[in-house]
Structures are given as structure tokens and as C-alpha cells.
Amino acid sequence: MTEIIRIERLHKIFRIGKVEVPALRGVNLRVEDGEFVSLVGPSGCGKSTLLHVIGGLTAPTSGRVIVDGMDLGQMSDGLRTQLRKKKIGFVFQRFNLLPTLTAWGNIALACHIAGNRNGNSRAEMQAVIKMLGLEARMGHRPYELSGGEQQRVAIARAVVNRPKIILADEPTGNLDTENSELVLNMLCELNHKFGQTILLITHNPEVSTFTDRIVNMRDGHILES
């Protein structure tokens, strides 16, 4: 198996005025291509921050972050955006769909941003929509959808461009048990079918049983298992 994420001595310090808030204090982590990893730990231990750094949404303060062979520490903001566009799909706890667009519009916009404007992407879209059981909901806006449906649309949006890595920050945090299970099963299916690497943050120990491996975090560190 090949390594798709490798993190060495990663530090991330937020500065609020003169106060320094260390969110990550020397994280080391390796993730294999196609792995489904869950990231657990108490609130404020730096899980989201780690995901944001891997996804290129924020720059590391120091250390090495290599994603699919590219070192994010050396990359400009623009290059990190490129990487995110091509290789990363984000799923958030709060769904984060664009409220003015329909479900279909949200997914199509993801294709557009990624630059897939040809017929291929349409077929791809249909396949993903079908797989997530969303065929009947495409014409609806987010507020007309249930939480579970919104999160499935968000997943469809994240995976439609076939990113190598899906970063999911508590995707089931706002869902009831039934919908949580549905969403997790879908992530598993994506992981199996397309071999997408998934990093999933959760507070729920049950959720982590769906995954290949559990990574524990505490105070900006990863605990050795």
C-alpha cells in the first residue's frame, strides 16, 4: 500500500492579537491510500485544525505535511487551493450547503469549480446521486431537505469530482441514529467502491467502529496506540 498522507512534527499556532494558541503541537500521522480512519478526542484537542491543515484550508506553522506527494508547508495559498480542488472533498457537521442553490445546483457547482464541464461529469453526477439515493431530491433547496438528506447532498458534492481524500468533520454530529448510520454506510461504500481515503472526526465511539483504524488525539498530539 502507498502512503497518501504523511505528517511529521506538525505545529499549528493561532495568534489572536498577542496571545498564541497552540492548536497542534507536534503531530505525526501516516495514512495509507484507501484507508478509512476515524479521529477521536476531546473538544478543543485540535481535530478540526488538523483536518483543515491537511485540506489546505490553513497553512501549517511548522512541520511537514505531505499530501499525495506534495508538501503543503512549501506551497503558496494558490497552490493549496489547487490541491484542495483536485484532491480533497470536505464534509462538515453543519452540512454547509449553499442555501440559495438546489441540491443539484450544489453538486453541479462543485463540478464547475473543479473545471469538469463536459458530459463526463454529468454521468458521474448521476451515478453519485443514485448511489446516495438522492434522485428525487435534486430540485429541492437545502431548507426543504431533512438533515440526513442535506448531509448526503454534501457528501455527493464532496465526492463528485472523485477526490482522493475525503475529510469529514463530525458528519453525523447533527443527525439522529438512523440518518447517522445511513451516512456512515455511504461513506463506507464510497471507501470500498472507489478506494477513496477517508478521514473522519467523531465524538461517537460507535461511529468509529465503522472505520479501519482509530486515531486518538489529546491536547494537540496524537496518542500512540
Binding site: 490553513t58 489547487q82 450547503l97 469549480i113
Partner: protein, 366 residues
Amino acid sequence: MVNRLIVANLVARPMRTMLSVTAVAVEMVLIILVVGLTHGILQETARRTAGVGAQIMVLPQTTSFVMGMSGTPLPTQLADRIAEVSGVQAVAPVATQVSSNGGVTMIYGIDPKRFDAVSGGFRFLQGRGLQAPDEVLVDDIHARAHKLRAGQTVELLNHTFRLAGIVEHGKGARIFMKIDALQDLLGAPGKASVFFVKVVNPQQTAQVLEELRRLLPNYQLRDMAEYLSLMTASNVPGLNNFITVMIALAVSIGLLVIFITMYSTIVERTREIGILKSMGASNRYIVSVVLRETALLTAVGIGAGIGLSFLLRRLTGVVFPTLPILITPGWMLRAGLIALAASFIGSVYPAFRASKLDAIEAIAYE
């Protein structure tokens, strides 16, 4: 796809969208009407002056151009000398005066016979020609604007006149009286402001002009065609500055409203911009979304502004028939480009701010 996002955003905020479209429309209307009115008045004046039927105008040396046909420094006997020059068919001395009650209106004091000889005669819609010194004629447009009928009395230059007749518009002024009457009112007996000269053969205007220049070296002689071609805003002192100031005013309205709209839009949509970034949208992509949204708003505003301008012109035509508004495709295009540029400038900073938002903070934004 971006278009869909943009339209959805605009539809989601109908009030704000309406407001900025209206601002752009007002910007357009201001530009089109101010320009249209100045050009319209100039063109109308030129057309009426041409309607006198003369090929040559004789003016005092010192008279300034276009708006300057006032004062009465020309001795009327001079007209007889001009009439004797070969090639001249008729000469009409005219005293002019501007009446300013109820809008600025030019009054021509004419010698009816000589004026008719140059102009070919009035076409009377009501009443008859000038006979007594206390009589005036007005054209149909003036009559309509002031609801006048032949036979009634009118106040002009602090005197009461009888309206002898209403004539078809297009022959110099909108109000006519006998030249001696006007000369008396102005305290300038025997003096005129301008001589309108009709030549026998218009093709020989240049030769006649030469001849007259020799005869009257101390006067300003103008070829009517040339005179009319010079009747543009840039030849009227101060007019271009006025237009520029009005356009600047219009532009600042458009620019400010677009700035406020787009700025408040991006503040309100901070979270959505963060989402776009998390989806891999580049700074350029974000900037283009904001600019395209502005462009769409502006395009709708431009369309509405053009429509509104035509509507207002029609209304003006009914309420103030003496105010001609000239709307040309050239100026519609120019006004549109000006509005587009103003909107662009107004949205550059908001677009830049949007692209510089911190994605994570934006997503956390409530």
C-alpha cells in the same frame, strides 16, 4: 453554473437587488437626460435657426457664439445696403430679446414683409399676421405649453400684448413681434441684432459671402451651414463642464450604491464564500463571482435606465413641450459603459475582500 449561483443570490435578496438596479437606472437616466436635454435644446435651436431660410447671417463683431444673439448693435439701414449686393435675394433684420418669464424664450422682433421674404412666410394655424405694435405671434409649441389661443392677451417683457396668431414652429423663434415695437421696448430705435440674408442661388453662398465681407469688414459674417455645424455642447461656454459635473454626480450615485450593496452582500455571505473556498474555489473564482454578480445587476439597471429615459422623455414631451430631449444610440452606449465602469470600480474592493476572507473563519461565521 456560476450564473445560476449569481441569479439565485440576486433573487434571494429582492429588495437589495431592486435597490441597486434602481440606482444604476437612475445613474443612466441622469446621464441620458442631461446629455439629451442639452443636445436636444441645441439641436432644436439650430433647426429653428435654419428654418429661417437664410444662407448667411450678419452679426456684430463682438457677439459671442451660439447663445449670443442678443443686444441690438446693427443699424437697420445696413440691411438696405446688403440687399443691393448682387446675388442677395432678401434681407431680414431681426432684433432679438430673451424673455425669461416661465422659461427662457427667444423673441424675434421682425419686419413681417422682409422676414417673409427670407423665410417664405409663416403658416398660420390660428389668427393672422402682425399688424399693430402691441401684437405678437407665437408658435404652436409655445401655444400648447402655455395653453394660448389667438385673440387673447399675453404678458411679455412687462407689457401686455394681443396674440394675433399662432404659427407653425420652426422659423427662428417661438415668439414674434414687430421690430419697431421691440426696438422701442429695448430703447434702441433703428437697431437690429442680426440680419438674415437669403441668396438667390444657395450654391453661390460663398461668393456672396466674399462680397459681403468686403462691404462690411467690421461685422461678423457667417455661413449658416457652418454656423449650425458649430452648434454643439463643446462650443457653448460652460456647457461641457455642466455635463461633466452631472455625469460625475450620476456616477457617484451608481458607484456608491453598488459598493454598499456588494460589500453588504459579501459580509452577509461570508459563510458561503468560505464554503466555496472549501470546495476548492480560487481567489480568482471568488472575485469573478462577485464581479459577475455586479455586472448582471448593472446590465439590468442599464436596461431599466434606458427604458425609463424614453418614458420620461415621453412624459416631458407632454408636460413641457418646449423641452426637446435628444436620445442617441451613441449616448445610450456611452452611458451604459460609464455605468458599467462605475459599478466595476464600486465592486472591486468588495470582490477583493471576499477573495481574501479566511475560509475557516468564514465557515465558522454565524
